[in-house]
Every structure is written in C-alpha cells, then in structure tokens.
C-alpha cells in the first residue's frame, strides 16, 4: 500500500510537469493547429538558462524562497520572450502554408536550438548541475512512504499555474479572444479579433509555462543538458493528444495519466517494457476514444 501511494505520488509530480508542458502544446494547437515541436526545447532553455541565472545572481549558492521565486519569474519571462521570437520569425510567415510545412519549420527550430546548445561556446554537451534553489527535505513520512518538499512544491506550483491559466482563459478579454480564435479562425477575424496578436500572445503564454516547467524539472531532476527537452517534450505531446489536443483540462488529465502510467507500469508490470506498455495503454485509449479523452469530436460538416 505504501509503495502504491509512493508510485501515485511520483506519478503526480511527473504528471504535473508533463501537464505544464502539455498546456503549451495544447494552447498553441488550439489557435494554430500546429504541433510545436520546438516546445520541448523551449522547456529545456527554461531549465538551462535558470542555471546561468542562479549562478550569476548567486541564488544558487544559498537556498531561499526569494531565489526560487526570482528564478521562476526569470525563466517564465525569458521563455515567453523566446517563444514570441520563434513565432514571429519562424511561424508567422507560414500562417497560410500547409500545416505540415509549419510542423517541419518547428522541427527545424527544435534541431537548431539543440545543436546550437551543444556547441562548446554555448552550453556544451556536458550535463550541468541544476542549483539547489531550495533545500530538499522530507516533510512527511508514513512507513516507507516519504514525501519531500520538492515534490509538494512542484505539484503546488504546477497546479497554481494551471489554475491561473484557467482563470486567465475564462475571465479575461484576451482569454475570450483566444477561445474565439481556437474555435474558428475566420469568424474570429470577422468579429474584429486580431488573430495575429492572439496567436502571438498564446505562444508567449505557452512558452512561459514551459519555462516554469523547466525550473520545476531542474528542481526534481537536477542534471540538464541541451538534449534534456526532447523526451519530456515528446511525452508531453503524447499527454496533450491523450487528453484531447486543444483542450486545456485534457492536457491536465493527459499529463497526470502519462505520469501515473509510467510510474505504475515501471513498478508493477515491467521496468524493461515500461515505455512499451505505456504506449500500448495510450493506443488502447485512443482506439476507444479516437479524439482523446476530453477532445471535441469534430463533427464533419457536409
């Protein structure tokens, strides 16, 4: 029972980070129908640049809440800016191009970030330690079940940001515009909503969340290299699709499900086939619900 709870807890933490990354995928997908492959790399930049920030400001040497907060804000700001630049430079010119061309541009940007990052003059390929912005402590223990403050923190920050996003999307003018654009590009345009600005804003917002996820990732898995973004990026993408791409609660659900699936299969079924089993589950879910768990069924207009 304790092991079971332990796995659930791990799954929640991992799932929370996946969900934060998946939100960026799903929001961008909503407004642009684009799988933004570079999203995982923006996430990596969030973690990587935080290392340099903490080193430069000295927050890395002395664990403090201030340092953590400042780093988190820094990562969100910087990643938001990066996301905005990527949208302007690489995606906007392709607004009316076929969807798959946009996808390839995204893959190109992703490769570019990874390859530039691996240069000796930039980050270099060697993994870098993520500073201990807060001291890891066990805050609760029941038998063999341990809960650390990092786990609680990651979960709280992830949930907090998601709640914030929810409020933002449902109670601000920008959020309304975002939903309108996601619902129907052209009609939104006709109603005087500046689709271009909304898409730009969505990128900034999604990338900022990826930046935050990067910091949380760094706190939990404190070794970062330029390739760090690829696998969590793919997993979050899978989570977004599983939940129903385009749906914000779906990204949340998908993120937690992938986290739990990984955690529980590794423990109960087989660590050798863990990823294979996770994918089998995913495929079975998709076959039962071909548009993801909370995805809107697109009714064919005839």
């Amino acid at each position: 029972m304790e092991s079971f709870l332990q796995q659930i807890l791990q799954g929640l933490k991992l799932g929370g980070i996946y969900a934060l990354i998946a939100l960026g995928y799903t929001m961008v997908y909503g407004v642009l129908r684009l799988i933004n492959f570079a999203h995982g790399d923006v996430f990596m930049l969030g973690a990587m640049l935080s290392i340099y920030f903490a080193r430069w400001t000295g927050f890395g040497n002395q664990p403090s809440w201030l340092g953590l907060g400042a780093t988190l804000l820094f990562a969100m700001a910087v990643c938001g800016a990066i996301g905005g630049v990527i949208e302007r430079v690489a995606y906007r010119p392709l607004r009316n191009a076929p969807r798959l061309s946009l996808l390839i541009a995204a893959i190109g940007v992703s490769l570019l970030i990874e390859n530039v990052g691996q240069l000796r003059q930039v980050f270099g390929p060697t993994p870098q330690p993520f500073p201990a912005l807060i001291q890891t402590k066990t805050v609760a223990q029941w038998g063999s079940l341990t809960v650390s403050n990092v786990e609680i923190l990651v979960l709280l920050v992830a949930l907090g940001l998601m709640a914030g996003l929810h409020v933002f999307v449902h109670h601000t003018r920008f959020g309304l515009a975002m939903r309108a654009v996601a619902h129907d590009h052209q009609t939104a345009g006709l109603m005087g909503i500046p689709a271009g600005k909304v898409i730009f804003g969505t990128f900034v917002l999604g990338s900022a969340l990826a930046g935050a996820a990067g910091v949380l990732w760094g706190l939990s898995y404190p070794v970062i290299n330029p390739m760090t973004g690829f696998v969590p990026g793919i997993k979050a993408f899978v989570a977004a699709v599983l939940g129903g791409v385009g749906s914000i609660p779906g990204a949340l659900l998908g993120g937690f499900l992938i986290g739990e699936a990984e955690s529980l299969t590794a423990f109960y079924l087989s660590s050798t086939y863990k990823d294979a089993i996770a994918f089998v589950i995913l495929i079975l879910v998709l076959l039962a619900r071909p548009t993801g768990l909370l995805g809107r069924k697109e009714v064919e207009k005839v």
Partner: protein, 377 residues
C-alpha cells in the same frame, strides 16, 4: 529542362564534397578521429576529443612523429553508427589518413571497424568495451578493458571486499555498454555465491527512476550495481537516497565524471566504481596529464578523456616503433605493444587485440574519487 537543372544540382553537390584534397604533404602525418560531437553521446565524444587534442599537441611540441607534425582530422558522427561508417570512409578515402582513433561507444566502433579492416588502416578505439569489436579483424585494436573484465571485477569486489551476499542490478537497456556490464556482473556474482535479488531496467532518456528504485528497496539488497553513464547515475543516486536507500552503489567507468561529484553531492556516497585511473594517483604522468587537462578545459579529466589520451599515445608509440606509415607495419607494432606506460596503467595488447591492463576501484567520499584497490587482469 527540369531534369537538366536537377542534374546540375546534383553535380554541384558532389563537386562541393569533392573539394577536399586527399593526402597530406611530406611534413604532416594525418591521423583520423571520428567521434560524436553532436547527438546523444556528444558529452562523451567531447571528452575524448579534448584529450586527444592534448596528446597530439604533446607529440607535435616534442618534435613530432617520424619527423612529421601530426595533423588530426576530426569528423562528427552524430552518435549514429551509420554516420560513423561514412565519417570513417571519408577519413580513409578522402583524407588518406594513416590511422584512425575512435569511437567512444561500441555501436559506432563496431559499425566502422569493418571499413578500417577492409582498407587495412589500423583503428584504435580508446573506450569501446564490447567484446565484439576486436573480432572485426586484425587491424582493430582497443586500449581499454572489456565488459566481461569490468563486470566480473566489480562482482568480485562486491563479494570479496564488501562481503555482499545480495545485490540489485539496475541496467540501462538502451546502452550496449550497460547491458554488457550487467550480464557479466550477474554471472560472476552468482558464481561467487551471491544472489541477485532485484533486476530492474531503465532507458537512457529517462529521468524518473523512483518506481524501479522502490522495487529495489523492497528487495533489500546489500549493494546496488548501476552500470550506466553518469548522466543518469547521478539522478538515480539522488532519487535512491530520497527514498531512503542507504546501500552503497557499484558502477563502471561510466560513473567517472566531474558531473558525478558536482551534481551528485552527498547522494553518490558511498559508491564504488571501476575505472581506468585514479586522479589521486601520484605517478607523475598522471598528475601532469590531470593538470594539463584542468588548465585547458577547466574540469578534471574523466574516464573517456584518460582512455582517449592513452589510446592516442599507444597509437603514436606504435607508429614510432613501426617507423613507417604503412598500415600493416603499424598494425604489427600495435600488436606488440607491451607494458606501455599510460596514464591509466601499463597497457599490453593481448592476442585478441584487447588491452590487458589494470583496473582501479574508486570510492566516492567527501566529494572526491578515492583509490580503493587495483585489480590485475
């Protein structure tokens, strides 16, 4: 019309590749190096490349080799075996190198080895530990020990020095290196009367290891053998300590890196791992190299740097003894390498073209790698 354009394009493409001038002039000796400068194992490739750069500078500073300056030509293989083949073909066919150094990972080395063999160009891999490699032919050498030796040595260390009766094994199923070490560790450990109580696995790209570690915790092993690369080992150690696992870790040379100490902190203690050398070793050649490397690159050389450095020097030494740039002559000289004084240890090339050399067991303690014992081949 369109076809003409296409052909022109293709011709231009091939012409561009054709720019490289084959061969070197009379005063340079061309040595090829293929290594992963990009892709998943770039961090390992970088270490090897750095160290080989030092070795080449040393030789060139000391008057060169056979009266020539060594010119090193480095090609990237993106950590992909099929690209390693292309890189080696380019080195041999376009650049006409005399001999080849590389690769870090066994899969890339094994893929490229037949090319060297066919072209009768000696190849020295500094750090590919899969037994398969040197079976590819008599031009293929390595200057590191192989998986069976390392795995078995750690198993014996566990049962004899640590008196462990039970062990858990945590393997990286995606890495041939890790799978190889795990297999020989398990075999030897069981032969010496030990018991493997947990056998778990992960993949190189993973970051979350707690589920498997929880399973290992339940099996209550006395030691945990983690034959992976430092990129994951650090995370594994940290998460294990968080889960309250206090057992010592055992590992292979993949643990050796500044990253392990910097990122691992207290979590990686105690850990015993097999390695090629100890940075504490007072021998002057060790200290000279460590200092040179630190000065130039700012970090302590890791296992791949040391093996890279030794591999390069073993090759240069063989060329000197062969007194020729002929492939067969260098091959024979390489095969006759006896008691070469390397940084790692004395290196002797055995009949199977593998290095017979000492292995050291290091312990991580107080943020440092401490020498524990050495194991003779």
């Amino acid at each position: 019309m369109k076809i003409k354009e296409m052909l022109l394009l293709a011709a231009a493409g091939l012409g561009l590749i054709g720019c490289g001038k084959p061969g070197g002039d009379a005063n340079t000796l061309l040595i090829g190096e293929y290594v992963s400068l990009s892709g998943n194992t770039a961090t390992f490739g970088q270490s090897m490349r750095n160290a080989i750069d030092i070795a080449v500078d040393e030789v060139n500073g000391g008057g060169g080799l056979l009266g020539c300056q060594i010119k090193l030509i480095v090609e990237d293989d993106q950590s992909k075996p099929e690209q390693a083949v292309t890189a080696v073909l380019k080195l041999i066919q376009r650049d006409r190198v005399t001999a080849i150094l590389g690769e870090v990972t066994s899969s890339c080395s094994i893929a490229a080895a037949p090319i060297c063999q066919q072209n009768r160009i000696p190849m020295v891999s500094p750090s590919s530990t899969s037994p398969e490699l040197t079976r590819k032919g008599d031009y293929i050498f390595r200057t590191c020990f192989i998986d069976p030796f390392q795995g078995a040595a750690m198993a014996r260390f566990a049962s004899q020095s640590l008196k462990a009766k039970t062990a858990a094994v945590f393997t990286d199923r995606k890495q041939d290196y890790s799978v190889g070490l795990a297999q020989f560790f398990k075999q030897t450990f069981q032969e010496t009367g030990g018991k493997i109580v947990a056998d778990e696995a992960y993949q190189s790209d993973d970051s979350e290891f707690r589920p498997q570690l929880t399973a290992i915790r339940a099996a209550k092993p006395e030691v945990i053998f983690v034959p992976g690369y430092y990129t994951q080992c650090v995370l594994i150690a940290k998460q294990a300590r968080e889960l309250g696992l206090t057992q010592p870790f055992l590992g292979g040379d993949g643990w050796d890196s500044d990253v392990t100490l910097k990122s691992g902190g207290k979590a990686v203690e105690p850990c015993y791992f097999s390695n090629h050398y100890s940075p504490e070793d007072p021998r002057p050649e060790v200290q000279a190299f460590v200092e040179k490397y630190r000065k130039r690159f700012g970090v302590t050389p890791d296992a791949l740097a040391v093996t890279g450095y030794d591999g390069a020097h073993v090759l240069f030494d063989a060329i000197r003894r062969a007194n020729s740039t002929d492939g067969a002559a260098i091959r024979d000289a390489l095969a006759q390498t006896r008691d070469f004084k390397g940084v790692s240890s004395r290196i002797t090339i055995d009949a199977n073209r593998n290095a017979s050399k000492e292995l050291v067991v290091l312990k991580i303690e107080d943020g440092k790698f401490k020498f524990v014992e050495s194991v003779k081949p």
